[in-house]
Every structure is written in structure tokens, then in C-alpha cells.
Symmetry: C2
Subunit: 209 residues, 2 copies
Amino acid sequence: MRQIPSATVARLPAYVRALEALLADGCVTTSSDALADRSGTSPSLVRKDLSSLGSWGRRGVGYDTAHLREKLATVLGLTTQRRVVVVGVGHLGHALARYPGFADRGFTVVGLVDADPAVVGSVVAGLVVQPPERLGLLVERTAATIGIIATPAGPAQQVCDALVEAGVGGILTFAPRALRVPPEVDLRAVDVAAELAILAFHDRRRRHA
Amino acid sequence: MRQIPSATVARLPAYVRALEALLADGCVTTSSDALADRSGTSPSLVRKDLSSLGSWGRRGVGYDTAHLREKLATVLGLTTQRRVVVVGVGHLGHALARYPGFADRGFTVVGLVDADPAVVGSVVAGLVVQPPERLGLLVERTAATIGIIATPAGPAQQVCDALVEAGVGGILTFAPRALRVPPEVDLRAVDVAAELAILAFHDRRRRHA
DNA sequence: TAGATTGTTAATCGATTAACAATC
DNA sequence: TAGATTGTTAATCGATTAACAATC
């Protein structure tokens, strides 16, 4: 199978969710139209995305909801447990450590790290918060493959370097700054303040001020 | 000035931050190279983005750091205060209500709403949490223009409809599902579980399993 | 002047849309 | 058969990169 376009990969989680909602509604079979509707894309794009992964539909009939969900979950790698370490146990880190949406998808938070001595040693979501100098050991012992950065901007690059050094393959950062990783490490960034700034841009246009 | 490409708008917050970091480092003048470096893009793209907004650099010299920062902040609409209402005061809503990165950028959280009677009436970040039926009145009284949805997937579309009905112009959602808004309302979505799923996809490829 | 760096154009690349033949 | 819906191609659109003339 050829390389899957990154825009397609980015839409797969929405398709998986749409399929689960359809299953819950008792739809045994579904169509590119219904999927587009529930995932916020277009029918054309749904068909193109799905056919780039394999031909799992039947012309004139549609897709088997449960079967397609399985296929997509497998492609995404959601069928294997992934171990996650969270660095930064402030409000956001707390929220992440307890987020139920992770366990559903095969993600287990196996370690927490914070630089604040007042936080180190406390128990959050059943885990004892570790100091930064234990990060390497923690990743090694838990065999975590994904790191989440929920620290302020200041220490974020240093934390990122430590995660890379410790050997994680993917990093999700919430820190409001650009991070540098070597090409073999996958970095995704969520930037809440930037999202609001983009909303402000349109808000400004609308209000002409 | 012609329509600004959405890809350009999405990069502007990173440029503003890069410029602030350069200012803090005492750089009076900067270049597309330095900006690309600090914002994680390419020099070509920096020049193209900036010149699509206006010609604010000097050939052979570069850009005036402070001046460019001002210009971009103005384009983004960060110079005016924007009032924000947060719906859903769980761990994430808490974290957002207290996020210091908002105030810095001219965003003020002016209202909190939650459906849980145990949460309604409590004080978070100096605000009394309101019940859902007060949402419309709250938006009206505070003249909020932006709504943040930090609820579970279940009630998210209903909350979204209520925010639209109440008259906000922009919505930022963290709920793990696709939302529908009328075309005149600007919707941005942050999907943490989807980001992890995308990391899982690459992780799977790497480990060949 | 010589070196640096922007602004802009042309070339490339990737993603989306539209249309329709294949086929259930 | 007639109607429905996929899979796939071609056309369009938008975004990025590369190159370089303009100019400080």
C-alpha cells in the first residue's frame, strides 16, 4: 500500500467516531453521505480517503459499519495499547491524566512528571508524580512510546529534548511555543491561545474593529 | 487588501510569539530566517505571509521587531479585549478558566456555565458558575463574542446551538465530535484524543505492529 | 561598492471537488 | 431492470518552495 496522505490520516479519527455513533444508532450499513455528514467532511472526500486505504465498500450498497470501524481502528493503531507519560501536572496535566477519552482508545497514562517539589510525590489519577530527573528512567521502565508536554512555554523545549532522549516516538505538546524535534520523532501541537487568536481575527473582521 | 489565506492567518500567532521572544532577547531588528527558525516554518513562507499583509520589511535590512509585532497583533485583533464564556467546568474547563495565556492576549473569561447542580453556584476563577438556562442571558449581559465548549461529546451540539442562538461569533470546542454551525459563525476544534490517535498511527508504522 | 535580505514571480506539490463508469 | 452508491479519474484549487530582481 502506498503512503497515506497526511490529510487523510488526520480525518480517520473523525470517521472512527462517526462509525461508532452510527453503530450506536443501529445502522448496520452506512454510506459516504452519512459518514460525511457525521464527520464534517464531503462524501467525495470520504470515498477518496477510504479507497486510498483499501476497497472496503460495496457499490450500490455502502459500507459495513462495524467492519469499517474495525478496519480504520486497525489502520490507526488503536487496537494496541499505547503507554503515555504526561509532563507537567498543573490544571491541564490533571485534566489529561484523568481524561476518560484516552482509555477508550487504547491509551494508558503510565507516568506523571512535574518540576514543582510541592507536586512531586503527590498521587494523581493513581500515579505518584515523579521529579524531572526521573523522566528517562520512567520512560524506560514503563516502555512509554508517547509523551505529552503540559508545561509552560519556558521549560517545554528542555522537556521535549528529554522525552526524545528517553526514546519516545511521538510527542503531543500544549506548550505555547514552537518545539524542535529530530525528523524521526512525530510532533503534534495543540495551541489553545493560538486558536483563540484565530477566532479573534475573524471576530475583528466581523465587527470591523 | 485582498483576502488573507487561512493558512497564513493560522501562522500569525506563532509569528507574534516569535517576535516577542526576539524582543525579550533584545533583537531590535530581525529577518525572515530568524522568524522561520523561531516559529517552525520556512523563510520563504515567512516573507510570503508578511508581504501578503503589507510590506513591513526593508530589503537588505530585515524587519523592525517591535513594529512588526504591533502590526501583526493588530491584524489578529489582539489589541481589543474579547470576552469569553466557558461552558463545561470540569477539569478542562477549570484549566481554561484559569489559563494565564488568555489574559496576556486580550481574552477575558467573563462567564462559566455547567449543567451539574453540584458545580452550579460554586466560584471558579472569581466567577460564579451558572446553570445552562442562564447561558443566553449571560452572553447577552456580558456581551461575550466567543464561546468555549469544554463539555463531553453528548451535550456539545446542544451547547453549540445555544451559543450560536445567544449570538457569539466564534466557538472553540474541545468536545470529541463534529459540530455543526451556521456559516457566519467561526468554529475551531481542538481534539486531543484525535491528536493521540494520529500519533498512534505513526507509532504503529514505526514499530511495524 | 559589496553583501544582505526583502518582495514577488514561477514552478511544484498536495488536497479537494466534480463527474461518471463500474457494479451491486 | 432501475436505482443506488462506490471507486477512480480529471479538473480545480490552494499552499509551499525555489529562484531572483529590487534595493537597502
